[in-house]
């Protein structure tokens, strides 16, 4: 691989990563949504309430796609509602990624 190709490759990878992330202002809105509104059931500190805890250690063994689908479509038969009117699938995936690592304050 030539140096220029390598640099192009790096550039390409980084744009892909950025394309999957909401912008900074939207990230702030999503964090507020999760802490305050998801927090009604899951707790503002995400330690759980009527809904289960959303901490990295409780989510570790669950597939990320399934968690994102739960946010987006809800889970029938439980109180978990669909949030698709308020966020995109990519944003649901971003929330899951943050929940599974360290959710911003």
């Amino acid at each position: 691989m030539s140096p220029s190709n390598f640099i192009f490759g790096l550039f390409f990878l980084s744009t892909v990563a950025i394309a999957g992330e909401p912008d900074v202002a939207r990230q702030k809105e999503l964090v507020h949504l999760v802490r305050q509104d998801c927090g009604s059931c899951h707790g503002m500190t995400l330690k759980g309430g009527l809904g289960p805890a959303l901490l990295p250690e409780t989510l570790r063994d669950k597939p990320a796609e399934g968690l994102a689908a739960t946010i987006y479509y809800g889970r029938p038969g439980t109180p978990m509602p669909p949030w698709k009117a308020f966020l995109s699938e990519a944003e649901a995936a971003w929330i899951v990624d943050k929940l599974m690592t360290a959710f911003p304050q």
């Binding site: 707790g43 330690k47 309430g49 009527l50 669909p82």
Partner: protein, 387 residues
């Protein structure tokens, strides 16, 4: 001359050191959910007079009062139970009583404070003087299965009624012997989400999430068992999504009728308390969360779940419809009426303030700064059953 000066000086000192006398009847507190603080307020002056920190995770906190209104018992999400002296404006005692709590209640005689817990699921009774643990009643509904407890309410004779979210039961625990409580169990329905006792202490209602309807137990005749009211109020129609669970308390009862939030419908349901039949429903602008009667029962104030939580609708019970609809602020989480209802305090979480309105003409009277305010609790609750 010198003696006179000393005498005057002594008088002055005395005046400075003398305690400021205060009654408890017009005091209250505001929960500041994000920072573990409470702000103490005077409802006559409509001003804060102290702020106390160090109360832990208050993200779903509630408070009950001792009979004299001097002490507040605050139940935090993290299982913290904190006893506050409103006159001295300080924490008297604080314990961590469970891993994850949802609220609590105080007995008829004021001697027992009971906390309701999600983890581990059950209730615990504490001496209201010392916060010493007296007994605990696990919410075991099948071998090894413990339910989250919701809707705990004080009833006559130091009995407490509550419901099991996972277990689908109403339970009544009698703490007349607080170290050896006894519990009665009644099948109630699918996923009770909260409960209330009517202001006379006779009926316990548990709202159901898993089915259309409300479970009702006559506490004067518990042997008759829990029965279903408001059954199938959705009549098979698809439910709207519920982005926050409604709350129930005795404030729902006004003028012989109970005004209850529908689940998954943008309606307030009206039930005649004499017959327990549905007598009407009122369309509102969102999924109701709190449906609260002004103390005289003339008005019902309704706030809403996300994404309609900037709105408040006011129902006139005589007209049977919404007579005032407005958007007082961002994230209206809770409402509390002055003891006799001439004004109402609304917490606007995302505006970081509490707003005060005149309930007769809906004029704004003032506001109090508070960080992410949620629950507002006035001492008038001390003398009401089920608050």
């Amino acid at each position: 001359m010198r003696l006179l000066l000393i005498a005057l000086f002594a008088l002055l000192l005395n005046a400075c050191a003398g305690p400021q006398l205060r009654g408890t009847g017009d005091l209250g507190l505001i929960i500041e959910r994000a920072s573990g603080h409470i702000t103490l307020v005077n409802t006559t002056a409509r001003q804060p007079y102290a702020r106390i920190g160090g109360l832990g995770d208050l993200s779903h906190a509630s408070a009950v009062y001792s009979r004299d209104g001097r002490y507040a018992f605050i139940f935090g999400r993290d299982g913290g139970l904190t006893k506050i002296d409103l006159l001295e404006a300080k924490i008297v005692k604080r314990i961590i009583q469970s891993g994850n709590a949802i609220g609590g209640s105080i007995s008829q005689d004021g001697r027992i404070v009971v906390a309701q817990n999600y983890t581990p699921g059950g209730i615990k009774a504490f001496d209201s003087d010392t916060l010493e643990l007296l007994s605990e009643v696990p919410a075991e509904y099948a071998p090894g299965q413990f339910s989250k407890v919701v809707g705990l309410a004080d009833t006559g004779g130091n009995k407490f009624a509550y419901a099991l979210f996972d277990g689908g039961e109403i339970r009544v625990t009698d703490f007349s012997n607080p170290r050896q409580p006894t519990t009665q169990k009644f099948p109630a329905g699918s996923q009770p989400y909260d409960g209330l006792v009517t202001p006379d202490g006779r009926y316990f209602l548990a709202g159901l999430f898993g089915e259309d309807g409300v479970a009702m137990l006559d506490l004067w005749q518990p042997e008759k068992g829990a029965k279903k009211i408001l059954e199938n109020y959705g009549r098979g129609q698809e439910k709207l999504p519920v982005f926050k669970m409604p709350h129930l308390r005795g404030w729902s009862v006004a003028q012989g009728k109970a005004y209850l939030p529908a689940i998954g419908r943008h309606e307030v349901l009206i039930v005649d308390v004499a017959t327990w039949q549905e007598v009407g429903r009122i369309p509102v602008r969102g999924q109701p969360v709190f449906v609260m009667a002004r103390p005289d029962g003339r008005q019902i104030w309704v706030n809403f779940a996300f994404p309609d939580n900037a709105k408040v609708d006011v129902i006139d019970t005589l007209a049977g419809k919404v007579v005032h609809a407005f958007e007082p602020g961002k994230g209206i989480l809770h409402m509390e009426f002055a003891p006799r209802g001439e004004n109402v305090w609304l917490s606007a979480r995302d505006d970081n303030k509490v707003l005060i309105y005149n309930t007769e003409n809906f004029a704004k009277l003032g506001e109090i700064p508070a960080e992410s305010p949620s629950g507002i609790f006035f001492t008038a609750r001390a003398v009401r059953i089920g608050f």
